[in-house]
Symmetry: none
DNA sequence: CTTTTTTTTCACACAAACTTCATAAATGCA
DNA sequence: TGCATTTATGAAGTTTGTGTGAAAAAAAAG
């Protein structure tokens, strides 16, 4: 899961802790130590999610939040020292996506970020990895914004792989799942489809890995 | 995102509510009002995800779940009335993918389903010891986060060792288990495979101990 | 019905893995 | 220590599995 995270907190220590955990999750991390700084970074970057400390000098969290929501709809997780603050925030009736009181567990925070990213948000029925986009509903595959033509079987195959990332799948299993349990054809047919699919995947051809004596695997290094 | 969902709940009302939301997400929906019915439907259809009410008459959720996991690996979201039930479920140490307490928000449920479908899903089936990780599903071995290439036989061998930790295994037993009872080859072939496996295990080569005049043993000091 | 596309089969070449074997090293025991 | 037994290792030869292209068969489109 690719996430561009902005941490807005005036305390360097807290920023550093969150950053460390976030980098570990392979998130891209930006930092801001006050609201003004934050708005500037939001303007220039395409932020996916914000972690915001509500208590800040210069421009306080509430003001920042109001300003933010006027122009953006970026999911925000709020950090606060006191749980009473929550009511105050609720009063805003603003789009707070989640709330954590300090001291908080960084692991918990990461989980919440991922949950938010997973939820509603971003394109629903699409799979994307770098410049490869598979639109399940539209039934199209795009590489570098250029549509790639694949046959129906190839699309099915890729769809199944995407649904079963990082799992080695036997030819037999593929036959059963994609051709049906009542199909009795040659195992090696799959090899040919794999060949065609790989060719069509171009630079992403080696996302499909051969697992010798087992079958194939769609591998996404996360 | 195309999802084939099976709702297992004895209450028609709940099934209807979930179904309505699911259909709205363009999911394909199947229903079962008890475990027996559910297993039948699972057998005949290619279910992607299950929503299971743990409290059911006839075949209760736990029994159903155990039976299910014997033959299938379908991600399951469990519904329960009381949050204390959670502990009970944890006791099972089974592959529950998510958990919701009643009353739950259908929107939340849909989000969770999508999340599960999106993420590689499937419970992680891994063995790890220090920096050695064996991913059975992905069919990979990792040492210090670096993938190590092993041959199919070596992987089988290691898998067998892991499943029989701290037990001395004779060459004959290995031949029978991994090569099949109908195989009649040289005992010493195993030595060669062990050699290769040890080499590939690098700093973990000593986990495979030689048991003189018996065979080998995969020893984990714990 | 004809043409085009897709699917399936198949065989060959090549690479990877497996097995065997001879020899060296080590282990245990008298 | 010396001897017998067992295991480790390296280097063959053998077998197996996969990639690929071509062509037949089937399905879809025109």
């Amino acid at each position: 899961m690719y996430v561009k995270l902005l941490i807005v907190d005036d305390e360097q220590l807290i920023r550093d802790v969150i950053k460390e955990y976030a980098l570990n999750e392979k998130f891209e991390v930006l930092e801001a130590e006050n609201g003004i700084d934050a708005l500037e970074k939001i303007d220039k970057n395409n932020i996916d999610v914000i972690v915001l400390d509500i208590m800040m000098p210069k421009m306080d969290g509430y003001t920042f939040f109001k300003t933010l929501k006027k122009d953006y709809n970026i999911p925000t997780i709020v950090l606060s020292a006191r749980s009473e603050e929550y009511d105050k925030l609720l009063g805003f009736e603003l789009g707070i996506d989640d709330y954590l009181t300090k001291p908080f567990s960084p692991k918990e925070l990461m989980a919440r970020i991922k949950a938010i990213m997973r939820r509603g948000n971003r394109q629903e029925d699409k799979f994307s990895y770098e410049d490869l986009v598979v639109d399940f509903m539209g039934h199209t595959i795009t590489i570098d914004n250029k549509e790639v033509n694949v046959t129906p079987k190839e699309f099915e195959l890729l769809t199944y792989f995407i649904k079963n990332q990082n799992v080695a799948i036997s030819r037999e299993a593929l036959l059963n799942k994609l051709w049906g349990y009542d199909y009795f054809g040659d195992d090696r047919t799959i090899d040919t489809h794999i060949k065609m699919l790989r060719n069509n995947l171009g630079k992403y051809r080696n996302l499909i890995k051969t697992v010798r004596s087992i079958g194939y695997k769609f591998e996404i290094k996360s």
